[in-house]
């Protein structure tokens, strides 16, 4: 069979890409010749995969992630690997070891993170679709900041095989695009069981988005419109929810008491898992080589000092501490209890309503360097992390502007009702297209 390929030569003024595949081969299928950008923490055979870290510079995976295999099977062309916060740790893509990505809506502002490169590539029109990953909001945040659509699927609906792990119990690969239909199309390719991922479910996605939402019951959590949220952003999102009501949906106020400690539970869990996941980067089997003339621990420490950015080292230390003898009960064990409470809160609310709506992010995209204090950076994840803790699906769809910058409406749903979440976003999108 003759090799077919597309030529991909984007004008990447926003530094969305770390690797560009100028001649991208492709086959046939639902996505024939569609150029798709893949976040650089997803393994691509023969294409350098760095997680935007120095510690994986030069690493060429000998295998494809399952999602990538499925993309290729659908005829897609892998256009390149996109920039991100190092190992997924960040909310702005400023933590990339290879320089930040700029927000196409305003290059003085961050594109969001950690899938900032994928969001910028889509927002700037360089590609039609992209794969991102979402551990605590890393698809939804950049989608909101860049004014595109991004879906975090139900946990376990998309295989994580080949996704370089940051926090195994929280993350998912998900689709990002400029239209809900494209997000839905991409989801139909990547969702489904993979026997190589023991946490994956046999729940393929074959849905065509429907704009019919009459009778839909929407929960409005007070915590999503409270003190930490910019009133202008809250206002735009309330208007968008009003639009949904005009389409026949009804709203109901609700409470998520566990929101109080959800962020703490998230950061304890993800840093703990990360501290373990990132311990394998020792320069022996891959990555810049360890100095074999030194004794093991010295060489190992040197590789990590040189290869990991500051935020990575901070999170590894936090996670090491949270798991350490004497502290496991106070931190990690407690975080799992907290997490289960979050899941129960959402399950309880979603017994009475079909979806939950609120802003994706508490503010519009920050300026570069605005969030210099780590804790204040973590706090901006407050509206996205509960979804990951509960394992439920959530989408961000653009719903207006504040100070010229996009604002995202977040729709959250029951486990395995990604279809309903997409329909809600689709209904809104079609209504305002007019």
């Amino acid at each position: 069979m003759a090799a077919r390929q597309i030529t991909f030569e984007p004008d990447d003024r926003y530094h969305a890409f770390l690797t560009v595949c100028r001649k991208a081969p492709h086959g046939d299928g639902k996505l024939t010749s569609v150029a798709i950008a893949v976040k650089d923490n997803i393994s691509t055979q023969g294409i350098e995969t760095t997680c935007a870290s120095k510690i994986l510079k030069g690493y060429i995976p000998p295998y494809d992630a399952h999602a990538v295999t499925l993309l290729k099977g659908a005829g897609a062309a892998i256009a390149g690997k996109t920039n991100m916060d190092e190992f997924g740790m960040g909310t702005t893509t400023e933590n990339s070891a290879y320089g930040p990505t700029l927000n196409p809506c305003d290059p003085a502002r961050v594109p969001g993170g950690s899938s900032g490169g994928s969001a910028a590539a889509v927002a700037a029109g360089m590609v039609r679709m992209a794969l991102g990953t979402d551990t605590g909001g890393s698809i939804r945040c950049p989608a909101a900041f860049c004014g595109i659509i991004g879906l975090k699927p139900t946990y376990g609906r998309v295989s994580r095989y080949g996704l370089i792990a940051y926090a195994n119990s929280l993350e998912q690969i998900g689709p990002m695009a400029r239209t809900v239909s494209d997000v839905s199309l991409l989801m139909s390719v990547i969702a489904g069981h993979d026997r190589r991922d023991s946490t994956s479910y046999d729940r393929p996605y074959t849905h065509m988005p429907s704009a019919e939402i009459r009778g839909l019951k929407i929960g409005i959590p007070q915590e999503y419109f409270g003190a930490g949220v910019d009133p202008k952003v809250a206002g735009v999102v309330r208007k968008a929810i009003g639009r949904l009501e005009e389409l026949g949906a009804t709203t109901l106020p609700c409470n998520i008491p566990s929101m109080e400690y959800a962020l703490a539970a998230y950061y304890v869990t993800c840093t703990s898992e990360a501290s373990s996941n990132l311990a394998r980067f020792d320069g022996v089997r891959y990555g810049p080589a360890a100095d074999t003339k030194k004794p093991w621990h010295d060489a190992f420490r040197e590789v990590r000092r040189a290869g990991f950015g500051t935020e990575i080292r901070r999170r590894i230390m936090l996670g090491t501490f949270a798991l350490s003898s004497g502290y496991y009960g106070k931190y990690y064990a407690k975080a799992q209890v907290a997490r289960e409470n979050v899941r129960k809160d959402f399950a309880r609310i979603l017994d009475n309503v079909d979806v939950i709506c609120g802003p994706t992010m508490p503010t519009i995209a920050f300026r570069f360097g605005e969030k210099s204090d780590p804790l204040s950076m973590y706090l901006s994840d407050i509206l996205t992390v509960p979804v990951n803790l509960a394992g439920i699906p959530a989408i961000s769809v653009p719903c207006g502007k504040v100070d010229g910058m996009p604002v995202g409406l977040q729709v959250m749903g029951r486990p395995f009702e990604d279809e309903r979440v997409i329909d809600t976003a689709f209904a809104y999108e079609q209504a305002v297209k007019g």
Binding site: S198, Y261, A264, S275, A290, W296, A333, P374
Partner: protein
Amino acid sequence: MVTEKDVVHIADLADIGIDAAELGTFTGQFNAILEYFDILDRVHGDGTIVRDLHNVMREDEAEPSLPQEEVLANAGADEDGFIKAPRVM
């Protein structure tokens, strides 16, 4: 409250390499974050995680391994088919 000494100990445990210059800032930030985590002390519940998936297993069948060259391809150094590493003795 963790002290700089505690932070050095954690960095040792994690073999993470932290400079003396960074130590002060790190410790301050660490403490702020840990203080935020203290909210978890107020959490109640028995924490049994409901897992609906269990006994996920595969059959005992041998599948092809990677060719030796591919195993060594990303390694920093190799010798006679082995991967070279810093000494552990």
